[in-house]
């Protein structure tokens, strides 16, 4: 089978971002093997849309796709294809260790709206800048900055507010 246009570019992108995408997915799925589907589908979309990926912001663009893929997988946890089958098998051996942090921090964070949590995670876990965040969220840089600012403000409020923390705990536990 002949390789496609931009195959070399895709391969370079894949090798640069595979590890990061796998980490992104593993930190957000319940079963490690489900991360294989997220990685496979994200890169398949990237391959199909290779010419639309911004040269200097490919990594946040991939996170933007992965967010949607993840949402789709969570809506309907179904298998679509054999793509990534081996990775899925290997990842059954992967382990995820939840961090040991003071419970009030975790409760304050988990009490935030999911959108706020993801904005904060993308910045702190994935190292995205506000410009990157705009690409990943599919919005303007200004809008991304506002969302980040609001998420930070709400997190700060949650950290200061024992009552909010205990309310969110009672909802979730």
């Amino acid at each position: 089978m002949a390789r496609a246009p931009s195959a070399a570019r895709f391969e370079a992108l894949y090798r640069d971002c595979y590890q990061d995408l796998l980490g992104y997915a593993l930190r957000r799925v319940e079963r490690p093997e489900a991360a294989a589907d997220v990685v496979a589908d994200t890169f398949l979309v990237a391959w199909r849309r290779i010419d639309e990926i911004p040269d200097d912001q490919a990594r946040p663009w991939l996170f933007g796709v992965a967010r949607n893929v993840l949402a789709n997988h969570q809506r309907a946890d179904r298998r679509r294809a054999d793509l990534g089958a081996r990775l899925r098998r290997e990842l059954t051996e992967a382990t995820t260790i939840e961090p040991a942090v003071p419970p009030e921090i975790a409760h304050a964070f988990r009490g935030l709206p999911e959108g706020d949590q993801e904005v904060l995670r993308l910045v702190a876990w994935e190292g995205l800048t506000a410009e990157d965040l705009a690409v990943a969220l599919g919005c303007s840089v200004n809008a991304a900055r506002i969302r980040l600012h609001r998420a930070r403000r709400r997190f700060a409020e949650a950290l200061r507010s024992p009552s909010l923390t205990s309310r969110s705990r009672s909802h979730r536990d």
Partner: protein, 287 residues
């Protein structure tokens, strides 16, 4: 970024789970790369569909490929009098599948418009296995609102394919969508990605010098386009030395074949940063 922001980021970083990935996942990743490159390549037709990517990505992912509920030998011809689409109403939803992949797309649009939905159906020439299946979807920005969901036929997925044979639309869907289904090509019509024969013919040029590839193509009444370098940049015939070697090919029309060429006949590598310059996700550890 303020110190307070930095402190917050630090707290959020503390919440990041530590993930231990088995070393074999790296090899599995290489296999996945090969599998993706073996799927149908992006084409000018697909690139024409410009979309709001983050909004479309989940849907596009759901449309990886397909398996048919419909006969693969459906002839292209005058539209029959029966309905072109099948509509099934469920609470809050409309389920749409194609009944007649040979009908005039305008009829699909009219039927969808009757439900107040701004959804355009396109039919594109496709390989037999993709006839009647969704081969591409474009979704306008829904702003987080209701969106299309794929209808799949999981029993008939192909190895690299999805199984999408239709879609489910929330009745309050207010964005727009374009859904392309595969149809049987007309005689002589170019199929997106090239026919097996065209791909096989093009493949025979791999390893040949540019002058030889040009001669062989010319004998078939075809011409070449050239791509060079790791970014696969287009080059003119005059820019490509005749003694360069073809390392990859792709038919893009019935008369044009793209040739990827390099001095040594190998795919060029991207210039890589030094090992120490690479960014490794902080909480993903091998082993």
């Amino acid at each position: 970024m303020t110190d307070v922001d930095e402190e917050q980021d630090h707290l959020v970083r503390l919440l990041s789970p530590t993930v231990h990935v088995p070393p074999a996942a790296q090899a599995a990743g290489d296999e996945l790369l090969r599998d993706i490159l073996d799927t149908r390549p992006p084409t000018p037709w697909r690139r024409r569909l410009l979309v709001s990517v983050p909004a479309v990505a989940g849907l596009a992912a759901a449309a990886i490929a397909v398996s048919a509920l419909l006969p693969t030998s459906t002839p292209v011809g005058p539209a029959p009098a029966s309905a072109a689409l099948s509509f099934t109403e469920a609470p809050g939803y409309l389920i749409v599948t194609i009944k007649d992949p040979a009908a005039d797309p305008q009829r699909y649009r009219e039927e969808l418009a009757r439900y107040g939905l701004n959804i355009k159906i396109e039919l594109v020439p496709a390989d037999p296995e993709d006839v009647g299946k969704v081969v591409f979807e474009e979704l306008g920005d829904t702003g987080g609102g209701p969106t299309l969901e794929p209808i799949e036929d999981p029993g008939r997925c192909t190895a690299n394919g999805t199984c999408e044979v239709g879609f489910k639309v929330p009745l309050n869907f207010r964005s727009y969508a374009i859904v392309a289904f595969g149809r049987t090509p007309l005689p002589g019509e170019f199929v997106d990605g090239g026919s097996d024969q065209q791909n096989a013919d093009a493949e025979k040029l791999v390893g040949k010098r540019v002058t030889e590839a040009r001669r062989l193509l010319s004998a078939q009444g075809k011409t070449a386009e050239y791509r060079v370098g790791w970014k696969s940049v287009a080059a003119t015939e005059a820019q490509v030395p005749g003694d360069w070697i073809v390392y990859d090919t792709a038919p893009i029309s019935n008369t044009v074949v793209v040739l990827w060429v390099s001095a040594d006949g190998k795919a060029p590598d991207k210039p890589r940063p030094s090992q120490s310059g690479q960014i490794i996700a902080p909480s993903v550890k091998a082993g």
